[in-house]
Symmetry: C2
Subunit: 240 residues, 2 copies
């Protein structure tokens, strides 16, 4: 936790009252009470700054903090991720990597080589994903919540939703057999689509092409999605 | 397992005899016996090609394969990693990311903010690391084993070993407070050093500078090591 993320509901009369995970972390890892009496903090979708410890309750269950804003969070990455649903652990790792690197919109979709059971895992729920996203924001010192969208049917997603997502943006589909090397250091906003473990089918690849996608490859190596995502972001937007 | 990695010891009179994990994977996931009767394979530090199933024993415990070479593995990345020892799970994730992306030499070293206990974890042993590296090669369709080196004292490493590692190469130290942005698309070989969770101390940073390092930053975001490594490699060598 490089930043304590404060939510609107934490505040009572202008003072943040913190219990649970953030309290324990601030006390035991940051040792806020023994050390500086303050820590880096930010308000969800708001400024970053510092939280100054006002008091710890006698039972050692909660702290009261005063938040002092100092600036804005880092700018978002101009990249939206259109990601095949993954096995739950991979889903979580992708959210962590993408959110720490500044992605603010991820669309998860179903396609042929996605196992249907992934969709019913509790780890893939909106609630679990947002909890992971909060941790990722705390890691990366950001406050702006990402949006996650879920489409459990390929065709309606590809036909009705995708055109709106890619309109006016460069659209890249990561594909091992892609004809072109993935570009480097983009200056424009982009949408990147990542396939499931077994890759896209020929039909799905055709759908991307018809939607204006460039099929791009990272070379002969086959990377796991949780490695491919940061590697692709690193090369697409090295300047951010 | 996108490639079955065959070791010298697997061969008996020119035929590979496979049991255990690789046998089970080939039978149950690749379904080699029911499907094509062959799978992508490679020989450690040798060519890639295919393995053709000759026979499965009656007990269903082992298979005999004939290896047919077809070409060489992808070229190694011209990057060596000089990595502070990490907590064991992170250590494994870094090995996976770096090896799948083609890194062939990783030097793990101790420094101030590395917990001493990390060094005694069984997950950090050479044996465990090489087992993880083999899995990473099977993922990325490569055969060339990486080398891992371990230095559990900072000063002897920095003074006696490091100069030999960085000689003739560009030396980059990833540091949040680095003055320059991390470069993009290197054409020359490089050595990249990555700090522990808490970062390098001022003293350690001075040591890197004296050894010729450029302190480079990826921007305001603070990434976990297992995300930073693929993100950095992706921007340093997008062409590989």
């Amino acid at each position: 936790m490089n930043l304590m993320l404060l939510e609107k509901e934490d505040f009572q009369d202008g003072v943040a009252v913190i219990r649970g995970r953030r309290f324990t972390h601030a006390m035991e890892v940051l040792k806020i009470a023994q050390r500086s009496g303050e820590c880096k903090a930010g308000v969800v979708n708001g400024p970053v700054g510092k939280a100054v410890l006002l008091a710890v309750d006698e039972a050692g269950q909660e702290m009261r903090l005063c938040f002092e804003p100092a600036g804005m969070p880092p700018p978002p990455l101009p990249l939206e991720l259109v990601c095949a649903m993954q096995r739950p652990l991979t889903f979580r790792k992708i959210i962590h990597a993408a959110v720490t690197m500044g992605v603010k919109k991820i669309y998860f979709f179903h396609c042929r080589k996605v196992e249907k059971s992934y969709w019913s895992s509790p780890q893939v729920s909106e609630e679990a994903a947002m909890a992971d996203a909060m941790l990722a924001l705390e890691q990366t010192v950001d406050t702006v919540l990402p949006e996650f969208h879920y489409y459990d049917k390929f065709k309606p997603f590809a036909e009705d939703i995708l055109p709106g997502i890619v309109a006016g943006k460069r659209f890249l589909a990561a594909h091992p057999a892609g004809a072109a090397p993935c570009p480097v250091d983009l200056q424009e906003p982009a949408v990147l689509t990542i396939g499931p473990e077994g890759g896209f089918t020929d039909y799905e690849t055709e759908v991307w092409k018809n939607a204006g996608a460039e099929l791009v490859t990272m070379g002969p190596r086959i990377l796991r999605s949780e490695v491919a995502v940061p590697a692709l972001i690193g090369r697409l937007y090295p300047g951010r």
